[in-house]
Symmetry: C3
């Protein structure tokens, strides 16, 4: 059975489209690539002569850099387009810009966009592989994959783990992809946060809404805090940062309710003292920097696997 498995996705739009076999395969490939980044010569010729475009409509340091490092360590040629310098300013539609990129024969376009569904839209107009690097409040699949990889590194299997995700569940593509991913892999996801941050559909995603952070964290194997969008703090949905930190911030005291070997995670960048206290972010349970390291490996795996399907009729 396993011999006959073939990764068949020409695009990575979300965790939703991936089977558990796909996810395990991606994590296995990523694990095998992780070592490349620790070599003295961090470069393999796998994607030599491939054209990979980072097309980012939202500012990003780590995700853009992570994909660019992944691509260059596999010897691809990379190109960065940021929305502020792109034709978007000149009024061109996303589809036209994408078709123009397509006409230059890229192999893969990595897209970050403020609108949910933008990467899926592109797949109808371009033949290059599309990797979703975050679309609106929808999905951020490479983030969920690196999170699953990080947990698997420590817990061997995701089956039966209790994962607590704390914060703005409704507007977080990270939360959305992680709920989909961890539940697919057999974990139980519990979410907590201000009521205004809870989406109506969260049960249908397979997550349990906890009545409090304490309830979510109790006996958890993983506690993941989501980032508060400080830039949105005038939003009436969001309490004051001080209040948020008091009721929803992850600190040592709340962590006592979790399992002794709990892993603390955060997608970054952290607002220290808001969604997580510094002593937790830098504490023994934190695997936050491992998440970043695994991010490069996951993106190498995605580029490799998507490239492998570009000639296919799928």
């Amino acid at each position: 059975m396993k011999n006959s498995y073939q990764f068949q996705h020409r695009h990575i739009l979300g965790i939703e489209q991936l089977s558990t076999t796909d996810i395990i395969h991606i994590l296995d490939i990523a694990l095998s690539f992780k070592e490349i980044s620790t070599r003295s010569i961090k470069k393999v010729p796998t994607l030599k002569g491939k054209t990979i475009i980072n097309f980012f409509f939202e500012p990003s340091t780590r995700t853009r850099l992570s994909f660019e490092i992944a691509a260059k360590r596999m010897s691809a040629d990379t190109f960065n387009i940021a929305a502020s310098t792109s034709s978007a300013q000149k009024g061109e539609t996303l589809i036209d810009t994408a078709r123009n990129l397509e006409a230059m024969n890229p192999d893969i376009i990595i897209l970050r966009h403020g609108s949910s569904g933008a990467p899926a839209l592109l797949t109808r107009y371009v033949t290059a592989g599309i990797i979703n690097a975050g679309d609106g409040t929808h999905e951020h699949p490479s983030q969920a994959l690196l999170d699953m990889m990080t947990v698997r590194d420590h817990k061997k299997s995701l089956e039966g783990l209790k994962i607590a995700i704390i914060g703005d569940i409704a507007h977080s593509r990270v939360a959305h992809s992680n709920i989909l991913g961890f539940t697919k892999m057999g974990a139980d996801v519990h979410v907590a946060g201000p009521a205004t941050f809870m989406p109506p559909h969260v049960d249908t995603l397979g997550a349990t809404v906890a009545a409090s952070v304490k309830e979510a964290v109790t006996d958890a194997d993983v506690v993941m805090a989501l980032r508060i969008q400080k830039e949105r703090q005038d939003d009436p949905l969001i309490p004051s940062l001080r209040e948020y930190a008091q009721f929803y911030g992850i600190n040592k005291s709340i962590l006592k309710h979790a399992k002794p070997d709990v892993l603390v995670m955060h997608p970054g960048p952290i607002n220290r003292g808001v969604e997580m206290n510094p002593d937790v972010a830098d504490g023994e349970a934190s695997v936050i920097l491992e998440q970043v390291t695994n991010g490069v490996a996951i993106r190498m795996a995605l580029l490799y696997l998507v490239m492998g399907t570009q000639g296919a009729e799928v």
Copy 2:
């Protein structure tokens, strides 16, 4: 005769400086390079170890990216400088900045600048090859070359073709370079647009000013719509966009007057529904995306040819 021909231009400042033999040579070289971009490994070692600087004083996605892709597919090292991050902010003159770049031993500087003549000015101060990627309202030679390449692909020869160019002829470097190029190659160029968009000297360039779009388009082999600069729409020279679309926009109805095998072109980015209707932009006659594809090939040819003359005493 052909054997003794040698491309001798150390810089590509405009179509004005190129002979018909030069143009044919560039198109032939570009055609031979086009296939590289369709390979699985899109990379040849031709320009390995060469330093190519994209120096853009105006925002651009496609032209900058097209040059960067062309350079990297030939294995050159590329560097991007955008005006907003450059020393221009610190008050340095263009010439000083260029001489500073020069001191770092670049092989080719690709310059886009808002002032007509800026690339020509640089050639007096630097020894690197200069390629004009658009200067003010003056020239955009690589655009005209890719346009000629696209038309030649379909029509075999440019001799005797009727080319209609519609829009802001007076302020368009694309129009200027195309009028020079197509007339050099023996085509008849007819232009139309609002009277305020017609330059006084257009006859001396070799183009015929048509009384109406219909007159320009009638029996045309090629209809090229120019981009309306929406950002300039407060300019009293420009009618409302709605009015412009009505009188000067290219639609199916006006195209009926052209030859049945007419090619529809646009330098991009398109303002859909203004200078061109979507059903035309996406219609059978449209070769707009071929223009983009040929753009990479033309830029590979220009980089290759200019590099070949850098040691020469020309």
Copy 3:
């Protein structure tokens, strides 16, 4: 003795940490690398597969480009992060951003930052080599090294030379690093400028405060003008530009007091007619563009030497 010398700095934070032996070694290595940039194929495989991040919190054309060219000519993979697009906007601390970069296994991070001491701070949190590309008003070591290299090229030795530095000594990291470097190498540094530009501690750095520009320039082997920060001209510390040019600008007349073979230097970008007259900047004594050329060589040497210590226990 010389055989047993080994460059041992894992980071380049400032001239302060370098011994005269270190400085001579860097200049010698840079001289041997300088020739690479004049080759037809400007590329050696020395740093293949290395990850070098340009992390710039202040806009810069020449320094960023110089490091990027240096890195690519040694075959490293380079990545640019500008503060305006970085997580700094999202409120992340410098240390968190650096630790996140670190988690992606870079070999060297080149940092420019507005705060004095930022590169030193990073060395406590990351294991990658840190090269200071300018921090606040503190140091700009690669600039001082390229300046020393340029002077040594002409004068063979720096011992006993009289170096005049004119301008805003108090706020210039270039001045600071050059005073430290030239005095270490046995030169006498004399500084002049408006009283508000003279720091209280300049004597302790080893420089002599001259009563006038004329006094500083008299019999000087080198006259270096510092850049006036035009953007700060509302600063009450700074006289009008016209007044500055009149009293402190370097012109032919003042240069007559210097040695006949004086070298004129400027770190760029020049405000022509303010801190230096065009006839001086472009005159026979000017080595300003040599400084830029040597900058690439110095940065190649620094990248090479810092990379060599990355496995070491120093």
